[in-house]
């Protein structure tokens, strides 16, 4: 990590210089992750900015972002390494044509076939075997979508910082990558993995911070509009919707409004753009039943 941050404030400032406003809790967790060199496990509702943490960390620290998107059935060949089979086959044919494949050279041929030259590094191996000046940020996104077997493997990598490719040998990280693991909590991540990590539950931001985030992320948003959107979204969050909107939706909504040339939230323009913030028909219905006018009136007076 070169020079690690000296304090929690430095982390918060560094991230905000890269357009990410953190809470004290998240900044502390990130600071500890960097100082103790522990993976950081972020859980929280969809759209609260978990993935964004890793991206911002990378741009702040000037390191490379390596992303591993997890899904059901992900296995070693997609997450760790794969051999470049077409090139291996070509190499074999060439060797055969030049007579290298026969006789005593078989062992040599096999060695050359399974050498780093034909190794395709997938995100995990890439992050472990890096030779970057600053260790890369490894984002393991939505780990809850992967299955238990993969999680167990991940645990091994995150504890030892090494990966063994049987044919080549063991890759060991000179400097371990900075690891951010995110989960939407569709199932519980295994305790053993949790113990390896620092844990932070990412909350929806409070009102003032959400206003700041909207202003920072939406070009040309009027200050009054940013406040109104934040207030309206905050209201949406406590009327019991299926999917309470996250910050990502607040930003989308303000972008949509700005694009339409709106500088103050009104029932008509809110109605037209509701699809940017509420993505269930039932949720839209619920907000209308509750009274969109009322929410907007409240938001405007806040």
């Amino acid at each position: 990590m070169g020079v690690g941050p000296g304090s929690v404030t430095e982390v918060a400032d560094g991230l905000s210089a890269n357009d990410y406003l953190t809470s004290e809790g998240l900044a502390t967790a990130i600071f500890l992750g960097l100082s103790l060199r522990r993976p950081l496990l972020l859980e929280g509702e969809a759209g609260v900015g978990k993935t964004e943490v890793a991206k911002t960390l990378a741009s702040w620290l000037g390191s490379r972002l390596i992303r591993l998107q997890c899904y059901e059935g992900i296995d070693v060949s997609q997450a760790v390494y794969e051999w470049d089979y077409s090139r291996q086959l070509l190499h074999l044919r060439t060797a055969e044509a030049t007579g290298g494949a026969s006789g005593a050279d078989a062992a040599t041929l096999e060695d050359s076939l399974y050498s780093e030259r034909f190794l395709v590094k997938r995100p995990l191996l890439e992050a472990i075997s890096h030779d970057d000046p600053a260790p890369p940020v490894l984002l393991i996104d939505e780990v809850d979508r992967a299955d238990d077997e993969f999680e167990a493997f991940l645990l091994e990598v995150l504890s030892d910082w090494s990966i063994t490719v049987p044919e080549v040998g063991t890759f060991r990280a000179a400097e371990p990558p900075i690891v951010v693991v995110t989960s939407n909590r569709t199932r519980d991540v295994h305790d053993a993995l949790k113990r390896r990590c620092l844990y932070h539950w990412v909350e929806h931001p409070d009102f003032e911070r959400e206003v700041a985030i909207i202003s920072l992320r939406t070009d040309g948003v009027a200050p009054a509009l940013a406040r109104q959107v934040a207030a309206a979204v905050a209201r949406f969050r406590d009327i019991g919707l299926y999917k309470p909107p996250g910050v990502a939706e607040s930003i989308d909504w303000s972008m949509a409004l700005v694009r339409l040339g709106v500088d103050a939230l009104e029932p008509e323009n809110a109605e037209m753009t509701l699809g940017a913030v509420l993505k269930y028909r039932e949720d839209q219905g619920r907000v209308r039943d509750f009274g969109l006018d009322r929410i907007i009136a409240e938001a405007t007076s806040r």
Binding site: L32, L36, E72, Y85, L89
Partner: protein, 385 residues
């Protein structure tokens, strides 16, 4: 819970503490958390002490968030952590912050099976003795182990032999196949080519394997289910330990996840844990609402998606039928199959007239009995079908 030895009133007062002080304070804090029911491993404690070394103990926020990041691993524990933190580091008695606990009120409610009888709330002169259901939440920590009789134990033994298979679905994970079908397995092909002097004579293939679908069991533990819930819990336990990808929840006036508690193999141990976890055992019923909460917090996010969901309930619901219909509709939209197990269904002349049951039925794929071991065996077959 034991009071920690002379807790400092604020961390700020512990300016310039020695490393030893920090260690012993941290370990007493860890002990206090364990007493409050959190699982704090030694590794977490070490991480916590190292964190304090990085962040310092001068600010409340630093200590608080270091502990949250290292000692707590799930949102359910945040409240306990806050309470212990306040008491330990700030010397605040959390009980003084809470409103006085509400006095539990037991209401006898009469409900005839036709479901259309007069609403019998607070009928003191009613001769109904059985608590059918109560609109008030009865928070009781009931030890149901003492109610088991020999027969139930015997049944439990038989239930543990029930195997709930699962409907299979295609997995994305590829498996080697012998016949040339699916996608070429180049890795294996190259390996074999080496043995043949570099000529890929035998080609290998892989194709997607199969995975059992997730099974989600929602057990109604309200008062009206009292005579069945215990036996059905044994069934749920048997299902949870029998195979992977099974999740269990208790439905009452609240939703309690039981998967962790029930994943212990020893049935008695599992029951004790489950009884501790379920605070509204034999309490009131807010079935539709609880199913809605399940959808919000777990189901729609992913747990019920493509899963076989089994609701074990008699369908008595104190809430609005509309809420039940809405929750079941959502569940039905994401689940592969919804099976409703109703122990009352076996009663001669039973018709699903309870409002909750009637509201739920249109969204149920299969409606089965669940009053006896035989019917549960039947259920096991349906789950796998």
């Amino acid at each position: 819970m034991a009071q920690p030895p002379s807790p400092p009133s604020t961390p700020a007062k512990a300016a310039e503490p020695s490393g030893e002080d920090v260690c012993s304070l941290a370990s007493s804090f860890g002990t206090a958390l364990r007493e409050a029911g959190l699982e704090v491993s030694l590794g977490s404690m070490i991480a916590f002490v190292s964190s304090l070394g990085c962040v310092g103990v001068e600010s409340r926020g630093g200590v608080y968030w270091s502990g949250r990041a290292t000692l707590v691993h799930r949102p359910e524990d945040f409240d306990s952590y806050d309470t212990v933190f306040a008491r330990f580091w700030e010397g605040i008695d959390p009980l003084s912050l809470l409103p006085p606990p509400p006095v539990a009120e037991v209401t006898l409610a009469f409900d005839d099976l036709d479901g259309d009888g007069a609403d019998g709330e607070n009928e003191e002169d009613s001769d109904t003795i059985a608590v059918r259901y109560s609109p008030h939440e009865l928070l009781r920590d009931k030890d149901f182990a003492e109610c088991t009789d020999a027969e139930l134990a015997e049944l439990a033994e038989l239930m543990s032999q029930l195997r709930l298979g699962g409907v299979m679905r295609r997995s994305r994970r590829l498996q080697p196949v012998r016949v040339p079908r699916g996608r070429p397995d180049l890795r294996r092909t190259v390996r074999r080519a080496l043995q043949a002097g570099g000529e890929p004579i035998t080609r290998s293939f892989r194709q997607p394997g199969e995975q059992p679908r997730r099974l989600v069991l929602l057990l109604d533990v309200s008062g009206s289910m009292e005579s069945y819930a215990r036996a059905l819990l044994r069934f749920v336990h048997a299902a949870v330990v029998a195979r992977r990808r099974v999740e269990a929840f208790a439905l009452g006036t609240r939703l309690t996840r039981l998967t962790r508690e029930l994943s212990t193999r020893d049935p008695d141990d599992a029951f004790d844990r489950a009884a501790d976890a379920v605070q509204d055992w034999s309490g009131g019923t807010r079935l539709g609402e609880s199913i809605g909460i399940f959808c919000d917090q777990w189901g729609v996010r992913g747990m019920a998606r493509g899963a076989v969901v089994v609701v074990l309930s008699d369908g008595w619901d104190r809430g609005e039928p509309a809420a039940m219909a809405e929750s079941m509709a959502r569940l039905g939209r994401v689940a592969h199959k919804v099976i409703w197990v109703n122990p009352l269904k076996a009663t001669p002349g039973y018709a699903p007239l309870a409002q909750g049951m009637a509201a739920a039925l249109p969204f149920v794929d299969e409606f089965v009995e669940g009053h006896s071991l035989a019917s549960l065996e039947e259920l096991a077959v349906r789950v796998a079908a």
